[in-house]
């Protein structure tokens, strides 16, 4: 599994960050030859994945990996170290990058997008920063790459260059940069000044020295500062960013960007506050309920959206809050559920986005109401869509089942019955807003008034896209049956376990 | 007696200043400013600052007034009535003034020999400079040796001003069309001016070279000499003046003065002293000081002469231009 074992383990971290950058450079150089360019993209993606696999392997072998780049500020460095949560996220991101690249080739060509080279370059840059986020060893490093991720994805969001895209980009950049500078940086600085360190430390870095009020304030600041977690009321950027091309939405807003947000929250909760200490913080419950409210409210909003991508976007907002809820429940099992949800939601949601993109390319339909009877014209796509839907809802035999299960278990462990109720209601809401789509596509007969689907149109779903959809939907199913490696990895995270420990 | 004169003169100044505020005729304003300058120079004499008085008379009442008149000739004499409220400025002024009055409350009493200012640094200048520098005029000693760097800066300021005016207004072309300018019809003036000018310039040179012994020095000399040429230009017209003293020559002179001054400083580098350390210029430090001071005063003199005259040329050239149009 580790084809890079010949290398110094710590070097792998550098490579994961640098390889996409090299890829980006190569993409620029080969920009004039689309085939070559895309080959380079895929090759980079695959190389990166193998690198992450190598790191995973090392992690399982308990090899510590750490590297320091430069000392940025006095006592603060840009440093990286590997810990299981990061590996998990890296695995998801790098794997899905391959898939997304494959998909994008189909989509971008099918859609005749402009500036494809810029697209691939930014893509690679984004992945590079995501990798850096995964492995950052302290909050400063994380923050830096968090910001860089925002910047490198901004051109992707505004890729279309239309007024809509610009407006979306403005909201995207405004909220993400705004929250991160006003709250996250503030929280980090507050942490730095009060705790004297920013290193991610198992069990948290706060001691009794810091006042409770301060820590409580910091938690709020972190939760809102990490705008990528899309906690209400700072969720507006996510639907706005849906103006981006579908592969972007898929990778960045189902996988990289939003997941970087919740990943950061998880990481902060686990390594800065410490899950054990979390329950003693005054504002934990407050933020928990805000997250819970976000789950419900955004689900409700999702129902009102006719535009498929918009609906998926609000669904994402809701699902992200699951993870936040999991993180804030202050229970190890809930945290495990949250970590697992990163994976399962990623595969599920990316499938849905891929499908939405495929539908766009093939039939230029954006609105759900127009998709009646689509199942017959695009059976493969719609089957995959159905699988994704089920996974998001959390019905067996789909991957989403497990994460929801652990989250509920965590809520019980933490004795927060209300969260159990919220999760249940939300599942029902999921059903209400997602399931009708495949149902309409398959079961409702096409409206006579509508333009009949012509065979010729639907056939145009590009082959690479179809392949990608196939892989992710398979993964949805596969992770239900074989989640063990992931769960093993999660169990390596300090203070986190899938074992039910009861009320402690 | 000194206090009485001081009080009377200050009172005159106060009345003049008040009058200036309310006058709308800019020509009168400038005239009164000239008066103000003259009277303040008188105060300087009264308070023993003879060198300052010398300079203020030559600059404030001389050059400044001439330049202001030149500007007025180009911009018009009347200030237009403006109806914007004077309340805010008044408020600002009252606050500032109140702050200053507040500041005076802890000031050392006027003229008292025990004041800190007379106790710390100055005594050394008074007691040692005649020995260290060898000049009777302490102001020159301090100006040209102890604080020579300030004076270098001052020369640079004058040079900078010349550059500024040169870039803004340009220079007259030498030997341009000799149009009818100047006070051609004033025969008496022309004759008297021709008598006065050589005397003035010689007097300027006298001031230049006797700054060590009495009030005066390079700066005053430069201004007076420039004033003499300005007088020529006023009476005989700019074209003739530019013919006598060419603008390009002035440019070179202005630059040269700064170079002489700074060059003296650099020379002391090479002779093993600090910048502007004249002691090393000759084997006897006092002689070295004397040499240094004479040289730099000369530098100041020619820069100031050239700059002041150049500035006047700039203004006059503008006036001449509009005259032609």
């Amino acid at each position: 599994m580790n084809i890079w074992s010949a290398l110094e383990p710590s070097l792998l971290i550098n490579l994961t960050i640098i390889v996409p950058l090299i890829g980006a450079v190569l993409v620029v150089l080969t920009g004039k030859y689309p085939n070559l360019r895309e080959t380079v993209s895929i090759a980079t993606a695959i190389t990166l994945f193998t690198l992450v696999l190598g790191i995973t392997d090392n992690t399982f072998n308990q090899i510590t990996m750490a590297t320091t780049w430069v000392s940025l500020l006095s006592g603060l460095e840009i440093a990286f170290s590997v810990e299981p949560l990061g590996v998990l996220f890296a695995l998801v991101a790098s794997f899905l990058w391959i898939i997304t690249t494959i998909y994008a080739i189909g989509y971008m060509r099918g859609h005749n997008e402009q500036n494809q080279t810029r697209f691939y370059v930014c893509f690679a840059l984004a992945i590079s920063t995501v990798m850096a986020i995964c492995f950052s060893a302290n909050l400063l490093t994380l923050f830096i790459f968090y910001e860089l991720l925002t910047l490198s994805t901004y051109p992707l969001v505004t890729h279309a260059g239309t007024d809509d895209a610009k407006r979306g980009g403005r909201v995207y950049l405004g909220i993400l940069l705004g929250t991160s500078i006003a709250f996250l940086l503030f929280a980090i600085l507050g942490t730095w000044v009060s705790a004297g360190t920013l290193d991610f430390t198992p069990g948290g870095i706060f001691t009794d020295v810091q006042s409770d009020g301060l820590i409580a304030l910091l938690l709020v600041l972190f939760c809102y500062g990490i705008g990528k977690a899309a906690l209400m009321p700072f969720h507006r950027w996510l639907p706005a960013a849906m103006v981006a091309p579908t592969p972007v939405s898929a990778l960045l807003h189902a996988v990289a960007v939003v997941k970087a947000g919740v990943f950061t929250i998880l990481k902060v909760v686990i390594y800065i506050f410490g899950i054990e200490n979390l329950s003693q913080i005054m504002t934990t419950d407050l933020m928990l309920y805000i997250a819970a409210a976000t789950v419900l409210l955004s689900s409700c909003v999702a129902m009102t959206k006719d535009n498929l991508k918009a609906r998926l976007a609000y669904s994402t907002v809701s699902q992200l809050s699951y993870i936040v809820v999991g993180a804030l429940l202050a229970s190890s099992i809930a945290a495990a559920g949250a970590a697992l949800h990163i994976v399962t939601h990623a595969v599920g949601k990316i499938t849905l986005f891929f499908c939405a993109g495929a539908i766009m390319v093939a039939s230029h339909k954006k609105n759900i109401s127009e998709m009646v009877g689509l199942g017959r014209k695009m059976p493969l796509t719609m089957v995959a869509f159905a699988i994704g839907t089920l996974s998001i809802i959390g019905l067996p035999p789909m991957a989403g089942t497990w994460s929801k299960w652990y989250l509920v278990a965590g809520a019980l462990e933490a004795d927060k019955l209300i969260i159990v109720v919220v999760l249940t209601i939300s599942t029902l809401l999921n059903i209400v807003y997602l399931l009708p789509i495949p149902i309409k596509a398959f079961l409702t007969p096409p409206d006579e008034n509508q333009q009949p689907w012509s065979r010729a149109e639907t056939i145009k779903t590009p082959l690479p896209s179809l392949i990608a959809i196939g892989i992710t939907s398979t993964a949805c199913v596969a992770l239900f049956f074989y989640p063990q490696p992931i769960i093993d990895l999660i169990n390596l995270i300090p203070d986190v376990s899938t074992e039910f420990r009861g009320q402690s | 007696m000194v206090e009485l004169i001081d009080l009377v003169l200050l009172g005159m100044l106060a009345i003049t200043a008040l009058r200036v505020i309310f006058l709308k005729d800019l020509f009168a304003v400038v005239m009164l400013f000239g008066l103000y300058s003259f009277l303040s120079a008188l105060i300087f004499v009264n308070l023993d600052a003879v060198d300052v008085a010398f300079t203020e008379a030559a600059v404030g009442a001389g050059i400044s007034t001439v330049l202001m008149l030149g500007t007025l000739a180009l911009t018009g004499r009347k200030e237009k009535a403006n109806n914007h409220t004077a309340l805010l400025p008044l408020l600002v002024v009252i606050i500032t003034g109140a702050a200053l009055i507040y500041g005076t409350l802890d000031m050392p009493p006027f003229g008292h020999p025990d004041n800190p200012a007379h106790q710390h640094v100055a005594p050394r200048y008074i007691e040692e400079s005649p020995k260290e520098i060898g000049l009777p005029n302490m102001v020159t000693s301090v100006l040209a040796s102890y604080r020579a760097f300030d004076t270098l800066g001052e020369t640079a300021v004058v040079f900078a001003a010349a550059i500024g005016v040169l870039s803004l207004l340009g220079m007259p072309k030498p030997g341009g069309v000799a149009i009818d300018s100047g006070l051609k019809s004033h025969l008496v003036l022309r004759v008297v001016a021709k008598l006065v000018i050589p005397m003035t310039i010689l007097f300027a040179l006298y001031v230049q070279f006797h700054g060590d012994y009495g009030p005066g020095g390079g700066f005053q000399a430069g201004v007076i000499a420039a004033a003499a040429v300005i007088l020529y230009a006023l009476v005989f017209g700019l074209p003739l003046a530019t013919h006598v003293v060419r603008p390009n020559f002035l440019k070179v002179l202005a630059a040269l003065g700064v170079l002489i001054y700074a060059g003296t400083g650099v020379t002391s580098f090479f002779l093993g002293g600090n910048f502007l350390d004249y002691n090393v210029l000759a084997s006897d430090p006092v002689v070295g000081q004397h040499i240094g001071i004479i040289v730099i005063e000369f530098g100041i003199g020619i820069t100031v002469f050239a700059a002041m005259l150049g500035i006047f040329y700039g203004f006059a050239a503008q006036a001449e231009r509009t005259n032609i149009q």
Partner: protein, 118 residues
Amino acid sequence: MSFIVDYYNYWIVVFLMMAGFYIVISANNLVKKIVGLNIFQTSVFMMYISIGKVQGGSAPIVADGITSYSNPLPHVLILTAIVVGVATTAVGLALVVRIKRAYGTVEENEFEDKDALI
């Protein structure tokens, strides 16, 4: 009474300064502004010279039979400051001339109207 004798000089000088300062900030005409600036500066010079005066002292030029001299340092400073003042005046007036040529007026509100500056 001695209070007044000690400070009358400074007070009048402050008044003069403020008169000049008032002209600078209230005048609408640029030439008058420059005149005000000059009055302001000249008054500050007077303050300095007042600092330098020693009662019973004489001008700081060595002469026989004179023992007490006024402080030469403020004189030196003010010599420099006067030069700075005239330099500023010259540049300021040159700007006024150019402004007149460019705008046809030297009244502040008028050329502001012409520009509609920020």
